[in-house]
């Protein structure tokens, strides 16, 4: 039983999209967006990752179980990062006492 065979053109398209998005990421880093630089970089990275997962890793054509597995990983990573942030954010991101100059 063979899985879905994607056309070569699709792979080339995704590759080019990834390269363009990489260039955009670098370009955006040179623009002063203040707090939003980080968000923009992460959103682009997330989108690139989604392209790899959906097309290169064939998740688009995979079973519901596979899709659920991917979603679960993302969800639990979000729990790790999110709940950690609750503690640190509620302390105002106060860092360790630093030596004075």
């Amino acid at each position: 039983m063979s899985g879905h065979v994607s056309p070569v053109s699709l792979y080339i398209t995704i590759f080019l999209a990834l390269m363009v998005l990489t260039a955009v990421t670098v370009g955006a880093a040179f623009v002063d967006l203040g707090q939003f630089n980080f968000l923009v970089a992460m959103i682009i990275a997330g989108f690139k990752a989604s392209l790899v997962i959906w097309y290169f890793m064939h998740v688009k054509y995979a079973s519901k179980l596979t899709k659920l597995t991917v979603a679960t990983g993302v969800f639990f990573l979000a729990i790790l990062l999110g709940l950690l942030l609750i503690d640190y954010a509620s302390k105002g991101f106060t860092s360790m006492p630093m030596p004075l100059s």
């Binding site: 899985g3 390269m19 002063d32 997962i53």
Partner: protein
């Protein structure tokens, strides 16, 4: 073109099945699906594994943004960008290799796999260059760490002079919240995370290349066909995941604050 063989099961009934079908599975389809789900569950563990490092990074980036920004600027955007392109390219070649196996093209599969390994090796070679540069500039925590900002008055000659332009800390055009002593300490956190994250990533790449060597040999021996190419697909999933980790590492490590 099926490689089916006939043999008798416990009841003495002969039945034909692909030689790669393991006996605790009923069909090749079930076996492949199990492998795909199994590999994704393993990748889940990898998401959480790297996730712990991302968590540590997240906290310290907020705490010591200026240290992270300064240290990030000392990384070579050229090498980092090149490596990103190389790795994305290797994902393309890997996807083509899997496609070759799916479409019964033995030679193409082998060639795309070899190309993937070459690109992976290029990536690792660049990392060697970058790491060597870090050692030279005393940016290795616990070893010889010395954070010298470019604007610090250089001693007459000596190791603490402003380093060569390529890896230099770029002169910031704004006030930093951390002073020189504080930067000396907190940039070590950045570099500790840098080496741990990229080192772990590189280790995964080395393992991936090792796996691909085996898969390439198997492909060359003709062990795969349109009905059974699961190991190639598994290697592909692993390799794409390693690419995805780098897709996040690149902006997090190289692009903290490039606009000053």
């Amino acid at each position: 073109m099926s490689n089916a063989v006939a043999h008798a099961d416990a009841h003495g009934h002969a039945h034909a099945h692909h030689p790669a079908l393991q006996h605790h599975f009923d069909t090749m389809g079930q076996q492949k699906e199990a492998a795909v789900v199994g590999m994704w569950v393993f990748l889940l563990t990898e998401i959480l594994f790297f996730g712990g490092l991302f968590a540590a990074y997240m906290i310290y980036r907020v705490w010591y943004f200026d240290a992270f920004a300064e240290a990030s600027r000392s990384l070579s955007l050229f090498w980092g960008g090149l490596n990103t392109a190389v790795l994305i390219g290797s994902s393309l070649t890997m996807a083509m290799a899997v496609r070759g196996a799916q479409t019964n093209k033995r030679a193409a599969t082998v060639n795309w796999l070899i190309l993937t390994m070459i690109l992976g090796t290029v990536f690792l070679g660049v990392k060697v260059i970058e790491y060597a540069d870090k050692f030279e500039h005393h940016h290795v925590p616990g070893y010889n760490f010395q954070w010298a900002a470019a604007h610090e008055a250089p001693a007459a000659g000596g190791e603490h002079a402003a380093p060569a332009a390529e890896g230099a800390a770029a002169e910031p055009h704004r006030e930093l919240a951390l002073n020189g002593d504080q930067l000396q300490l907190t940039t070590q956190i950045y570099f500790s995370l840098y080496f741990t994250m990229t080192g772990l990533h590189a280790l995964h790449m080395i393992i991936g290349i090792g796996i691909m060597l085996v898969i390439t040999w198997m492909a060359w021996k003709g062990k795969f066909d349109a009905e059974y190419y699961t190991p190639v697909e598994m290697a592909g999933l692993y390799w794409h995941f390693v690419d995805i980790v780098w897709i996040f590492l690149f902006p997090l490590l190289y692009l903290v604050e490039r606009h000053t």
